[in-house]
Subunit: 209 residues, 2 copies
DNA sequence: ATAAAAAGTGAGCGCTCGCTATCTAAATGC
DNA sequence: GCATTTAGATAGCGAGCGCTCACTTTTTAT
């Protein structure tokens, strides 16, 4: 006799399969890419039938948009978690940048980037992703403000944030190798340290606390 | 009677259609994205039949790889053309960065980036693109060395190049709007100027010429 | 207990994909 | 001039795509 599968309410069943589908979409996008994330692949990964998918999401587009906002909240939470340590020396900034880099290389961020790239050629997806993009940027700015808000103006903060996250995103795009630490020549580490040095030199600490 | 179509050698015909196919692939990738760049779409854009495509390229993969090296040479040429002006003041560096940004947003670079993203989920494409990637990076480093080689060591040059091009690539990925100049708040311009200021402060000019 | 509603299944439809086979047109070697 | 080789056109094949529909299973309301 198989396990009698304890009773669940309809809301619980619904929530469960929707969550499984969203998680499956995230991992599919992160490790197979946008084109290979077919509805069949997602359903296989989630362990449900295609009919179940199309009951909760009217179209593939809707599934992807829902996944986008799903990972967007995760991403901003991961970013906020980075904030917290004091950053005074160059080494402190290097540590923050390295930590940010691992976050940027996480599956959730890979997923987000994959959707952003797909949105460039897809007007519907682009407009659907717009609110999440703006909210994400705003929340990241707010989180950064809690860390360095006493040293930089909001404009400067936005500028340095743009430099840092865009550089890390660019690195993530050009880092095709599965093992990013085995980069030849350590130019990435050098670049991150250079950026840290430039930042602390340009925005020296106001005074020791 | 239709135009009698002046006589061409077989080599000329071959070269002509191959060039048309490569150019069509570039524009398709740049404005429709990787997934929508089907063999039918490329042939329609190039004005040839599918049979003609598969005569010269055994598979879609081969067409894309050929297109990759095609645009790679264009990109390094465009980058070299940027080198030439003296860069002493912050405004000079800002001008160079802005020019680099327009290059990075060009169709040839969009194509290259689209292929890079697709290569992340495609092992064959990834290995096929590897030599072009390395040669591109090396040539860009050499070109940068001609401009700033007298001020920076090779390692420092590689680091600052990594920071600059990765940030510009990241900007290109997050710039989904067709009109990049109409960005809200001018944070991009602020970020570019900040980066320029940090660079000239960190690497001051040795002496006036 | 039973009817209604919601959740989940799986076969399959129309369509487009990359690619092939068969053909005609054009250039080349003799 | 004629046979051979090369370039290009066209129809269509098998596979996979997003998605629908008739159906069963599970929960809910009475």
């Amino acid at each position: 006799m198989p396990t009698p599968t304890e009773r669940r309410t309809q809301a619980q069943r619904r929530e469960g399969t929707i969550g499984a589908l969203l998680d499956a979409t995230v991992s599919c996008l992160a490790e197979r890419g946008y084109a290979a994330t077919s509805t069949a692949a997602v359903c296989a990964e989630a362990g449900v039938s295609q009919g179940a998918l199309f009951r909760h999401f009217p179209t593939r587009h809707a599934l992807l948009v829902a996944t986008a906002s799903h990972v967007a909240t995760r991403n901003v939470e991961a970013f906020r978690a980075t904030v917290g340590a004091d950053v005074d020396t160059v080494d402190d900034v290097v540590a923050v940048l390295s930590h940010l880099r691992t976050i940027v290389l996480s599956p959730a961020n890979q997923t987000w980037r994959e959707l952003l790239v797909a949105a460039r050629a897809d007007a519907e997806l682009r407009t659907a992703l717009l609110p999440a993009r703006e909210s994400l940027q705003q929340q990241m700015l707010a989180a950064a403000g809690e860390l360095w808000g006493d040293r930089l103006t909001t404009d400067d903060l936005a500028a340095v944030l743009s430099v840092v996250v865009n550089m890390l995103d660019g690195l993530a795009f050009s880092a095709l190798d599965p093992d990013p630490t085995a980069a030849p020549g350590r130019t990435v580490e050098r670049a991150l340290r250079l950026l840290a040095e430039m930042i602390v030199r340009h925005y020296p600490q106001t005074e020791p606390r």
